[in-house]
Subunit: 123 residues, 2 copies
């Protein structure tokens, strides 16, 4: 076997604030501590983190995570966003990651929770 157990295999790593995500390993770390996410939750996190800063439509998220087209009245994305939020908040109470843009979709971006988000979203 190779002398170095730590192979130089390219481990894709996404960063978002205090979050570290390794898509290939199914691992998400918050301040170094592993989160326990379900497959759907994890994939959703990855899909959003990959489009950090952009508003992503539910249709796109659904396609990325579920692999098929979002059907009308399917609230799956909302439900899993909710689950993800509560786990992220449990791990990093001071930060907000997932922002809702009513009528458009969700935006993933780490942000201190201190500032209140008011005013009309720019559209």
């Amino acid at each position: 076997m190779a002398a170095t157990p730590t192979s130089d295999a390219p481990v894709e790593t996404l960063h978002a604030g205090e979050l570290e995500i390794r898509p290939d390993q199914g691992l998400a770390l918050a301040r170094g501590r592993a989160l326990t996410l379900s497959v759907r939750e994890f994939e959703l996190l990855v899909a959003m983190a990959r489009r950090q800063g952009a508003i992503v439509k539910r249709e796109d998220l659904y396609r990325s995570v579920w692999g098929t087209e979002l059907r009308a009245r399917d609230r799956s994305v909302d439900v899993y966003v909710s689950k993800l939020r509560s786990k992220l908040e449990a791990a990093l109470p001071d930060r907000q990651f997932i922002h809702t843009h009513p009528g458009f979709g969700y935006r993933f971006q780490p942000q201190p929770s201190q500032d209140v988000y008011m005013g009309a979203p720019a559209h």
Copy 2:
């Protein structure tokens, strides 16, 4: 490549919390006290300890320990994880080492039992 660790070569030693593992010697120490592990249990421990902190898929663990491909419906890994856990817990009751990530695999990481950082509060 490392020479045969007979003479001058340092004995490979893995550390994980209060655990010390010497793969070449088939020895695992918990707070200095040797654990009595079977071959499979020991190899599994080594395989996991070498990837400390990462989530390792059952397929990978099986390949490392059994040397062949994991067949569908083979629960060997689960069974030995269970055995390992109970021996580790018997030796170090206050620590948890093997964490299950449903849908992904297992993660080996020493962790004080005190902190309770789960996801959402159980409904």
